[in-house]
């Protein structure tokens, strides 16, 4: 019998116990995977967004709109290749479904965001049609929107001149992302800022955000400092940050939930450690005479330690990997079910952390019983002392 065979045979001697232990490890790692992916939503933000763009907003808060008269001043800043702007519209589809809707200048937006892929004639239609709108592919698929349709959207902020908050736009294009990461973000609608500004009842010529596309090799920090210094002590003080930090600041608004998630992880792991640790200790305790026999037969202290440790690693590894696989599947299902709104991605990083956790855990629970097995005195063990 090989050593591996021996370990496996030992594991299956008490089938119920092994199965139950593996099941609890599976549950723990299923939770671990899901919570880690939730946690990474709060901490990392969208890593794929490069540092080639800066976002400028009013210093007080982005809800305070900035005047469009800032455009030429921003364009004059060295290192800024293109200035685009976007205004939050507060779009609502049908009864109560909020839709990310931004009023943008089509040409400028196109220049600033090479990541959005759409046929050139659709970009042109977006620019030339007054009441135009373009929708992300995910969104268009979800609601069955087709190019040429008139899409009724209401705004929960802006009434039109007549006082009505029901707006309607002509869908002239459907954009997609240039790669997988961007394709998953195609859940926004863009409308023509000119039309919005003209038809909207309040606040002419203003926008919530400026997007500054930087020339290659520009120092982003320097530009952001220059911009903010330019408007200091004016009624429209600005805050300029990289696109990544900007996106992250939205997630950060949710606040202390990340902390709670870490508490849960801690509780789960503590529980798990005890469960598996106890099971291992017990199985060693029951086999003290056997281990003594092994040693009598000439197995070294080290190989006895190895047997016990291998059992722990095997239990944790099987349970952990199955748990992580389940978490990956479940996360993908949640993402599907919510139409990509809620991204629970158990990615490579989480797998790496997970495998690390499995190894650490195996040693944490296996080491004590293994050491005990190693230090067994044959005579005492056989005598049942």
């Amino acid at each position: 019998m090989t050593k591996t065979g021996f370990v496996v045979a030992n594991l299956f001697r008490k089938k119920t116990r092994t199965i139950l232990t593996v099941l609890s490890v599976i549950m723990a790692f299923l939770l671990f995977g899901l919570l880690q992916s939730l946690n990474s939503v709060f901490n990392s933000g969208a890593d794929f967004v490069g540092a080639t763009r800066l976002m400028t907003q009013a210093r007080v808060s982005f809800t305070q709109a900035l005047p469009l008269s800032m455009v030429p001043k921003l364009e004059a800043v060295p290192g800024v290749a293109r200035v685009a702007y976007s205004q939050w519209f507060g779009g609502v589809w049908q009864e109560n479904t909020q839709i990310f809707t931004f009023a943008v200048d089509p040409q400028r937006y196109h220049d600033a965001y090479a990541e959005w892929v759409m046929p050139e004639e659709q970009w042109q239609a977006f620019e030339q049609t007054r009441t135009s709108m373009v929708a992300g592919k995910m969104l268009a698929d979800k609601y069955g929107w087709k190019i040429g349709q008139k899409i009724p959207l209401s705004s929960n902020i802006y009434p039109q001149k007549g006082g009505s908050k029901s707006w309607a736009f002509d869908l002239v294009g459907i954009y997609d992302g240039k790669d997988d990461n961007w394709r998953k973000q195609t859940n926004a609608v863009f409308i023509n800022h000119d039309y919005f500004d003209e038809a909207n009842l309040f606040g002419k010529g203003r926008t919530n955000f400026y997007i500054l596309k930087l020339a290659p090799g520009t120092d982003a920090a320097q530009v952001s400092k220059t911009v903010d210094a330019m408007f200091e002590n004016s009624p429209d003080e600005t805050k300029t940050q990289t696109e990544k930090d900007f996106n992250l600041s939205f997630v950060k608004q949710i606040g202390d939930i990340g902390l709670i998630v870490r508490w849960i992880l801690f509780a789960v792991f503590f529980t798990l450690l005890l469960v598996v640790g106890n099971t291992m200790a017990q199985s060693v305790r029951e086999r003290v005479p056997e281990l003594a026999v092994l040693k009598t037969l000439g197995f070294t202290d080290g190989s006895v330690l190895g047997f016990v440790l291998a059992e722990a690693v095997a239990l944790c590894l099987v349970g952990g990997v199955v748990g992580l696989v389940l978490a990956t599947l479940l996360g993908a299902m949640v993402e599907q079910a919510t139409g990509g709104q809620f991204r629970l991605q158990v990615d490579g990083v989480i797998w790496a952390i997970g495998i690390g956790a499995i190894l650490v855990m195996s040693f944490a629970v296996g080491l004590l019983p293994a050491l005990r097995a190693r230090s067994l005195k044959i005579v005492d063990a056989l005598a049942g002392r």
């Binding site: 600041s249 606040g255 709670i260 789960v268």
Partner: protein, 392 residues
């Protein structure tokens, strides 16, 4: 039969200290489940009660039609003046209707111990009647703001959780400096805000009108009268809500999200705990196989054996559940956190571990204990006496 059960249960429980390790697995496992469950729901309860406490039944809030939250709403000054003249509004001591036009502005403040990311805080410009409409609100330090000056009073929650909003400090907004001259307490969501005079807010932030108008309702039918009059007036497109309903509506999404999170996490952890409990109880039964067989041999019935194993499992589960509830209480009760509310601004609230949550946690632990104990108990009761006695 009862005396038999009592006798076996007595033996079992007295022997727990000798085999404390497997018993501890059940206790700790369930403590974990109950602690997590209670903590998550305590967060949800705390958030809801903070918002709900802010709403009164005898106050109505009027927003622009279809706007749902104050941040999206905007009313002209003339509209505000029309609203004040509506029927159903209670008059104050001076004979004028009690009403406060309020404008909501968002400012960014840094969270304590977070140097980089700012959080959105509500700055509310109010009229003097705002204090009449919120009788719970008391200024506990410093003084009230002076109308016409750039002065702020700060809610206790904001003062605690965010930097740069303590008494005497200066908040910079829109190129101007505002001095914090007082701290107020109200025990509800108002504590998450900074308040100032509406007129200075209007001029500084270039607002002509207001975000909302709050009015005191006159008697039980006040709201119906007001609502009827508002919808009959062709000059207005506004929504009126009883303030309490307005705030309750804002907690719905949060309660649902946390409810789902708590449900999923508790379910998965509970499954893990069931497996662990099964494991421990099987081990406990196996360790006492000989003892149980002996009892059976001298005339004890199968049922008392089964019941006694169940009682042991339930007892351990209950201890674990209590431990978890206590842990959740000690660690989380009254812990102050903040998260984003409906207005896209921070709501500061405390975790609330209520007796109802503790009871629900204990019910969960008892259910898990029952499932974890049942199968091993059946095995123990069914074990043939001869097999049991032969086992080493």
């Amino acid at each position: 039969m009862f005396s038999q059960t009592a006798a076996i249960t007595g033996i079992n429980i007295r022997s727990i200290p000798e085999r404390w390790a497997p018993s501890l697995v059940i206790v700790i496992g369930l403590a974990g489940v109950v602690a997590v469950f209670t903590a998550l729901l305590a967060m949800s309860t705390g958030f809801s009660s903070t918002l709900q406490a802010a709403g009164r039944k005898d106050v109505a809030i009027i927003l622009r039609g279809g706007s749902d939250a104050e941040i999206n709403s905007g009313l002209g000054r003339e509209e505000g003046d029309i609203i004040r003249q509506m029927p159903g509004i209670r008059a104050g001591a001076d004979g004028r209707p009690i009403a406060s036009a309020e404008t909501m502005i968002i400012a960014e403040l840094l969270r304590n111990k977070d140097a980089k990311d700012a959080a959105n805080i509500t700055v509310r410009g109010v009229e003097p009647d705002a204090f009449v409409l919120r009788p719970k609100l008391k200024i506990t330090a410093g003084r009230n703001f002076t109308p016409g000056l750039r002065e702020l009073i700060v809610g206790r929650g904001v003062a605690h959780q965010f930097e740069g909003a303590a008494m005497g400090s200066t908040v910079r907004m829109r190129g101007s400096d505002w001095t914090v001259v007082g701290v107020f307490e109200s025990g509800d969501a108002n504590e998450s805000e900074l308040w100032t005079d509406i007129n200075i807010a209007r001029t500084t932030f270039v607002r002509t009108g207001e975000s909302s108008v709050r009015v005191a309702l006159d008697g039980a039918d006040g709201f119906d009268k007001l609502k009827g009059a508002l919808s009959a007036d062709p000059r207005l497109t506004v929504d009126a809500k009883v303030e309490q309903d307005y705030f309750s509506g804002q907690t719905r999404d949060f309660r649902r999200t946390i409810g789902v999170l708590a449900g999923v996490v508790t379910f998965i952890m509970a499954l893990g705990a069931v497996f662990a409990a099964l494991n421990s109880m099987y081990a406990a039964v196996a360790a006492r196989g000989k003892e149980i067989a002996t009892l059976r041999a001298i005339g004890f019935g199968g049922l008392p054996v089964l019941v006694s194993v169940m009682i042991e499992a339930l007892l351990l589960a209950l201890v674990g559940g209590l431990l978890g509830a206590v842990a959740a209480y000690v660690l989380f009760n009254n812990m102050t956190v903040s998260t984003m509310g409906q207005n896209f601004t921070q709501v500061v609230f405390n975790f609330k571990v209520t007796p109802e949550l503790v009871v629900r946690g204990l019910v969960i632990s008892i259910v898990i204990g029952m499932i974890g104990g049942l199968l091993p108990a059946i095995r123990a009761a069914r074990l043939p006496v001869t097999t049991g006695l032969r086992e080493l």
